[in-house]
Symmetry: D2
Subunit: 323 residues, 4 copies
């Protein structure tokens, strides 16, 4: 099942699971529609090669997904466990993000046959270098930054770009470095507003009246008004304090849709492939994790409650490219 | 000079002007920075082949641009005319949109050596089938719609996409048809909100719980609240009346930046090339216009005060693809 | 049916035909697999909305296609006519290129209910400004030229790019202008090899040791060897006569596959839509044609045996950008 | 200096070097044109912030490059060493591939202040997980495979795609997995021709008359004719043995040009940044290497003469997706 927000690469993972399980191990694979909802309501089907033929480059998920936390509702956990026993699965592969992981763990404690595959454009799942969907999100954001650069320069204008990332600034820092942002503001290192303004001002004094500031949505400033987010707040400050024309641009849903990059297709394929191996080898309660060059196994229990934060080395480097 | 909002293709036009004027006619070409501002403040330079070498694929404009209506300010028109005489130009090619066109005409009435090239991602300049920048804007919008489709379908969700277009719905209708939108709302034919809801509801009754609605920013509904735009208003209605999860996505500045499509590069090249011919042939007071397969000349005077609206044939066709 | 080489936009046209015919006119639509082959072998099916749902952005054709000229074989024309009567169609929409057009006309003369939609990346069908697939082919070629430019410049090297176009140089001239080629060689105006070399040499004398030459496959030089095409011949000449490192790049099948540009999606949608109108209005023996801003009708008979050649205006302009 | 074939990301690395060296350490940076050639001929210049401003998204290298092995020629090594002393550099950062590495090591043995940054679209430099340029090359190849898929399917045809990779099959295997190839042939595991044909034939027996075969250029078959490469050979065999229409497509120079992916921009930035650190810390004779999540240092001496081959795990996985 695929659960939580969709992202590019889910279909690639589903294809890999079906190919590995059926072709190499002769297993039957059942797909649940809309995660727990399909399990509870009996909406599932046996997945065949033809279901996953041609889906590698497609965004979204053919199993659909939902953000509803069905397991929170009274009685649903019991119903899920009952259905799992009833269907007599040998194992359950759950593809999801941080929120899904919590419930995967709750289910696994009672029905210990769960394997987890991390997907999130935010890249905030602990224990894996990258999660499925992150590379594509960064790539789409960088394309947008490239486009904004020409306008910023032609108009001597400041763009403040708001990207996803509530607890962590992974998209902001990767896209910021790769897209040549002049300032990057992330929850792990929320630059003070006067630091941001100083950098923009120094650029102007060097003859560059345009700047691109990229801000993760999770950043907060004390003086923000009710309707503000950090991006709109900073844009207002640039205009009022520096007198430079500033605009905000919000990159949200376009980062999570559409065809995955080749990197995400390969990562998703490797994780789907390996998740089946875990299941066959009885490595339950594990998450597939990119560790260096290998897909390693990490106990779900160790991942629950933790957050993958931007590392200090990357942040230290990013600062060199400010201004 | 390039004036008004920037858009992809301006550099391609500048390159064509310099190549045609210098190489084929042996003329000197002077580029004014930030439109009238550069003229008034003496910021201009003789453009050589090397200035326009390699700029064909670049977005923005090497001459920079401004949205300030300098000519509105008292005394500036006189100063501009004085400077034009002083520099002793044989002609002035102005690349701009609707707003610039008005002032191009005012200048031409007093100093009758103006040739105009239309550029606007909104495609609202009358007299030419397409203006420079429009094809790229549509193309970027369609890429975004493709991305949103996969998320909409995977989440059984409605996206209401807000695109540029104050007076006209060109981007909305072209991108809507090419991007497979389920409803298109444009200022020329603002569907009533109950019509919009009915189409979304009918799709649901056919088992399609997701929809993409594209709305031009110029559309207004009577019941809209102060902070609303048409897109956010419709999204709220979809949620409250139909109980389907709905999100808005704003495509604004990314539509006007970045590398132009091959179509826009060719159109801009042809218009820049022909504008020089107009100037050499003494066809002053004219705008370059795409008419069928040719770049024709249209008197600026006829264009002023008019708006290029979406034609009825296109609208009639678009409706066939609703739902 | 779709016949001849595939190209981006065929599915968009099929979708438009089904939507227009079923939704607006209540007609049944039958799709023939692999053109005449499906008709002869009984491989066809009634097309429903769900067959064309989601196919707008997809390259290729869900009806498959073939390059086999089945109608040439003895007896097949009679069989086709017999089957057409048997199935009792009210009309037949054929989507194809130059070759298909000939046979569409032969069928129409005996069974006068044919409507034709032109598709060809070569853009050589007479009577329509553009055919379906051409804009995408140019767009993919320009992307490749953009990539080659950086390598050519970094290595002080000449690239000779071979693109499709046997009888006409449409792709070469559009992509060449939009992609900033330094020389364009097309069948309509095959520059002599010494002219080509002179341009490359003059660039070098201006300090530009790199050049991009784009050549349509239909160009021939007298001195070419057996295994040569014009591109490889010119590359060899650049090396032997000028002593500059030269490489050939062949852009062939990648130009005809994949997702169509927004321009091609709209053109294909308009042509599919209008072809149904022609059929309903009894306008048989006609081809849908882009004429200025409208989809007009052109008698197939007038188109047969003619070729759409690159117009002189475009060629004259292209020369300005050589060197 | 940048040496060997160009690839996307070189400019990103140069930018990072200049920013890190000048901004954070206050060092002067000298750029040599065309690698050793610029050093020998005195073509170099002090690189300032403005030289590297805006070059992050550009392919190629502003320092130009050459494939000439100047150091092979008698006397040149001595001249290089003399010039290095003369200029009194504190260190020399060389960005290059396998061939350059050899000479970097030869120079370092005599003038021990060299730091090396690996770049190669082939990814065959030992000691680093990925080299600069590889991710972009794979990404462009996958885009091409996506395009070819639609044509292959519509025409029931086999495409044999020839990609770069003389000693190793990195591009072929990554692009093949991510692009959904049906067979992948690499130098490390050159499938016998009968195995290739069997897979294609089995697909046909399952109703899939189209296939995509991707082949690294370094693969050889005993029965190949003089003018053959492995791709053309396999295509001929598919036609003669299986009677399925087959075409070859060569993806060569387009893989190494143009704007780098976000992944390559980040990798190049990190390597350029860290190379300066190595130099400042006196870590000479080292190569920057991607090791897990960090940029580590590897002695150049250990890398010389070795080749980074496709690992067995990846190959084992790839096989699951054949057919």
């Amino acid at each position: 099942m695929t659960s939580g927000g969709d992202c590019p690469g889910l279909n690639a993972a589903l294809r890999a699971i079906v190919r590995r399980a059926k072709k190499d191990y002769g297993l039957s694979v059942i797909g649940f529609m809309r995660a727990w909802e399909g399990l509870l309501e009996g909406e599932f089907f046996e997945m065949d090669f033809r279901h996953v033929s041609g889906i590698l480059p497609l965004g979204g998920t053919i199993l659909h997904t939902t953000r509803k936390n069905l397991l929170e509702r009274p009685g649903n956990m019991e119903n899920v466990l009952a259905r799992l026993d009833e269907i007599a699965l040998d194992g359950l592969i759950i593809i999801g993000g941080d929120g899904t992981l919590h419930w995967a763990w709750q289910v696994h404690r009672r029905w210990p046959k769960v394997v987890f595959i991390p997907k999130t454009i935010d890249n905030d799942v602990w224990g894996t270098r990258y999660s499925i969907g992150f590379d594509t999100a960064v790539s789409v954001a960088v394309e947008a930054l490239d486009r904004l650069h020409t306008t910023a320069e032609s108009h001597d204008r400041v763009f403040v770009v708001d990207v996803m990332g509530r607890a962590t600034g992974w998209i902001a820092i990767h896209a910021g470095i790769a897209g040549g942002a002049d300032v990057i503001v992330i929850p792990e290192h929320p630059l003070r507003e006067d630091e941001v303004l100083r950098i923009v001002d120094e650029r102007r004094s060097r003859g560059k009246s345009f700047s691109i500031i990229i801000v993760a949505e999770g950043v907060h400033y004390v003086a923000m008004r009710e309707k503000d987010n950090a991006a709109s707040y900073l844009a207002r400050k640039v205009e009022s304090e520096l007198g430079i024309s500033a605009r905000t641009v919000k990159l949200d849903y376009v980062l999570r849709g559409g065809t995955p990059t080749s990197y995400d297709r390969l990562l998703a394929t490797r994780m789907g492939f390996t998740a089946v191996d875990f299941l066959v080898q009885g490595k339950f309660g594990k998450m597939t994790a990119l560790r260096g060059t290998q897909i390693a196994s990490v106990p779900i229990q160790r991942v629950v409650g933790r957050i993958n934060r931007v590392d200090e080395t990357l942040w230290a480097m990013a600062r060199t490219f400010f201004g």
